[in-house]
């Protein structure tokens, strides 16, 4: 699933480059420029992709209850 999610992110970046609507000034629903509708769609698709990412590839090794320790030495290595 990991590869599918990162594949989707890559696909989003490719689809973001919508050369096919570069010269198109058509209005969708009579008021929305097609280039704007398309990119609003990219925003929705991004949210959907990130939703899948949080479901399927959420880092399970993240220590939810990691204690605050005094180990931090502020870089005084």
């Amino acid at each position: 699933m990991k590869y599918v999610i990162w594949g989707l992110v890559l696909l989003l970046i490719i689809l973001h480059q919508d050369l096919w609507f570069w010269n198109d000034s058509r209005l969708v629903f009579g008021f929305m420029p097609i280039g704007l509708v398309y990119h609003a769609g990219i925003s929705v698709a991004a949210a959907a992709t990130w939703l899948l990412a949080t479901i399927y590839v959420w880092p399970v090794d993240v220590a939810e209850d990691a204690p605050v320790t005094s180990e931090n030495n502020g870089g005084e290595a």
Partner: protein, 689 residues
């Protein structure tokens, strides 16, 4: 006055919220700087979104759309929806885990630890602060300008110099004061609460304003159809042939006017007689400002009076008319080749040239609510000083050429939002999360929130290009793009809505300022005073006091700088983001690449900042607003010169791409040839699963 009352009520509400949140303050430095890691998903979403959306969210988005068309959404908004969430997911969660485990409060603490280097902090400290300060200045200055603009005419006789509105310096002072109070008392908790409240305010008011503007423009369809008819290029990312034809016609008219104006006023080689002027005026119908000059120009051209000018004189005329500084030594072909619009723009414009409008229209400038001539109401109300400057620009300067959005520039703009990965204030916000799961909501909802704010603003900006008021274009040529939204609301809606929208704009500005002030105060305290003073030297209470004193200091310093109104501060925004982006490889490698070494990190930072300084200098310190690095054409690599229009087929790239590639390459190469980090360090940051 209604606007001022609404803004004042809003600011008082914020103060109450800040003071209330301070009652929950536990008195520890961890609580002051990180809200004791208590911020849940909703507050985290709102505070992160509020922090990343600056003045640019409402004012800049509509202004950029007015200038560039709908392409700005893809370039700045949908790209951020992908990249910002990517950073929250890939960096934020990991940073939170390490921060909670090892007790980090700032980025520098993390890098010092991970890279086993104390001095990396000394190198990073001035860079991070230096990049945040212009970003802070943008917010402080924008707040002053917005309040001044919407309160024009609020006072009967005071502040005439500021169009009888609140002076920008006073508005900025009040905004700084309000932010300071709630950050001072509430710390990170107050900031997170205030950000949540303010984000809700600017999102709701943005949508309400959009609806009302659409209604006032005759509905959604009518507003967009007007653009399709008058400025179709704004609905796409290339130039519509009709826009190009319209521009060529108006540029030709402008050149004729420039020749006549120069010949009659500067050279005094043409002087129309009273009889000729009368004839010229009689043949000219429209009565816009400066119409007499246009009438005389047409007359002079018709009667062949402009033919006597030499090419050198014509070139001088163009620069003079466009308020450009002529070259000290004229180029060889000065008397052989006539300047084009593009070559005219390569000469810098005189700073403050438009203030000449104060003198020209002196008899028209006054209180904007008073009529000029009570016996002739048709003469209208007095002009503001802003309007005088605007009319001067619109009637004197060459028209703007339509321009397309280069696909390569659009693509390489994707590197700019990577800046959120290195924003020190966002790093601090990540550490406030209650749990790693708190990040899930911000990761998913951030792109949708961007869409909710940006789509209406982009549409309003595009509509503004073609909107009319009383049969005339609502905005004249050369209108300052960042003033479009506030002016439109003021012109077509009620003072109540104007007041609310201003509160919304200020909310967007303040929700970034607060985090940045808190962050800079925290960096000074933790990375300098506590780090070098020694942890045991100060108790927790003293650390909070030091942080608060630093916050007061940084607010005062930022306000002081804002009084000088540094030139190009708004264009500096993208350069600040690019600087942070160029350091993105460092945070990514520090979290995921075991082989990153101390020397590799130094190489990355030094390369990033050297490239930034070099390219920033080439851009004439951000004066060339369309600066790109270009590949192809006459030479393999070239840099955009002032006013240069890049030929089709040439690949234009944002400077940030070169900076990131350079810093990444330097980091990898140097890391690979230097000694890997100690195993002990690797075990701490990359524990076995």
């Amino acid at each position: 006055m209604i606007q001022l009352t609404i803004i004042s009520i809003y600011l008082v509400l914020l103060l109450i919220l800040g003071i209330f949140s301070s009652r929950l303050f536990k008195g520890t430095s961890q609580d002051y700087m990180l809200a004791s890691h208590s911020i849940g998903p909703f507050l985290l979403l709102m505070s992160i979104f509020g922090t990343t959306m600056t003045a640019f969210a409402l004012v800049g988005s509509s202004g950029e759309a007015y200038k560039e068309g709908i392409g700005v959404y893809g370039m700045l908004a949908s790209s951020s929806g992908i990249i910002h969430s990517l950073c929250f997911f890939v960096l934020g969660v990991k940073v939170w885990t390490l921060g909670k485990k090892y007790g980090y409060t700032t980025q520098i603490q993390f890098f010092r630890d991970r890279l086993e280097s104390d001095k990396i902090g000394i190198l990073l400290f001035p860079i991070l602060i230096g990049l945040v300060i212009p970003y802070l200045l943008i917010g402080v200055m924008a707040s002053g300008a917005v309040v001044n603009s919407v309160t024009e005419g609020a006072f009967a006789s005071s502040f005439a110099f500021y169009d009888y509105g609140i002076p920008p310096w006073l508005a900025s002072l009040v905004i700084c004061g309000v932010v300071l109070v709630y950050v001072f008392f509430g710390g990170m908790r107050g900031t997170a609460w205030a950000n949540t409240f303010q984000t809700l305010v600017f999102m709701v008011l943005g949508v309400v304003t959009f609806y009302i503007i659409a209604e006032d423009l005759g509905g959604l369809k009518a507003a967009s159809e007007a653009v399709a008819k008058k400025n179709p290029s704004k609905l796409m990312r290339s130039i519509a042939p009709e826009d190009q034809a319209r521009y060529e016609k108006s540029f030709t008219q402008w050149t004729t006017m420039a020749k006549y104006n120069y010949a009659s006023k500067k050279l005094k080689s043409i002087t129309l007689t009273a009889e000729q002027k009368k004839e010229a005026y009689a043949a000219f119908k429209p009565r816009m400002p400066n119409w007499k000059l246009k009438a005389e120009t047409i007359f002079a051209k018709k009667n062949g009076l402009l033919k006597q000018l030499s090419i050198a004189q014509i070139n001088d005329a163009y620069l003079w008319q466009d308020d450009r500084i002529p070259p000290e030594t004229k180029p060889e072909d000065w008397d052989k080749t006539e300047l084009t619009h593009e070559s005219i723009q390569q000469y810098p414009r005189k700073a403050g040239a438009e203030t000449a409008g104060y003198k020209i229209f002196a008899d028209k400038i006054g209180h904007p609510k008073k009529v000029m001539d009570p016996e002739n109401p048709k003469a209208g109300k007095f002009w503001t000083r802003k309007k005088a400057r605007g009319v001067y620009r619109a009637t004197k300067w060459a028209p703007d050429a339509p321009h397309h959005l280069d696909p390569w520039k659009f693509l390489t703009y994707l590197f700019v939002p990577l800046s959120v990965g290195m924003f020190p204030h966002l790093f601090q916000h990540w550490l406030t999360a209650k749990s790693a799961s708190s990040f899930k909501l911000p990761v998913v909802a951030h792109p949708i929130f961007i869409m909710i704010v940006w789509v209406p603003c982009v549409l309003v900006g595009v509509w503004a290009t073609s909107a009319e008021l009383n049969g005339r274009a609502m905005f004249p040529p050369h209108f300052p793009p960042n003033a479009v939204l506030a002016s439109m609301v003021k012109m077509i809606t009620t003072p109540v809505l104007t007041g609310f929208l201003t509160a919304g704009i200020l909310a967007a500005i303040m929700s970034s300022l607060d985090s940045q002030f808190l962050c800079v105060g925290t960096i000074f305290t933790e990375d300098i005073v506590v780090h070098y003073g020694g942890k045991n030297r100060f108790n927790d209470k003293q650390i909070v006091i030091i942080a608060r004193l630093f916050i007061i200091g940084i607010v005062a310093l930022t306000y002081f700088f804002s009084l000088f109104e540094p030139r190009h501060v708004f264009t500096l925004g993208v350069w600040c983001f690019s600087g942070f982006s160029s350091l993105f490889p460092l945070i990514l490698a520090a979290l995921y690449w075991k082989r990153l070494t101390k020397a590799g990190a130094y190489a990355c930072i030094l390369t990033a900042i050297s490239l930034w300084l070099y390219l920033f200098t080439l851009s004439d310190y951000a004066a060339i607003s369309n600066f790109t690095i270009n590949f192809g054409g006459e030479s393999f690599v070239s840099f955009t010169k002032p006013g240069q229009q890049i030929a089709p087929g040439v690949i234009q790239t944002m400077p940030v791409m070169t900076m990131i590639l350079g810093s990444t390459l330097a980091m990898i190469l140097v890391s690979l040839i230097t000694k890997p980090p100690r195993q002990e360090t690797l075990d701490r940051f990359f524990p076995a699963k």
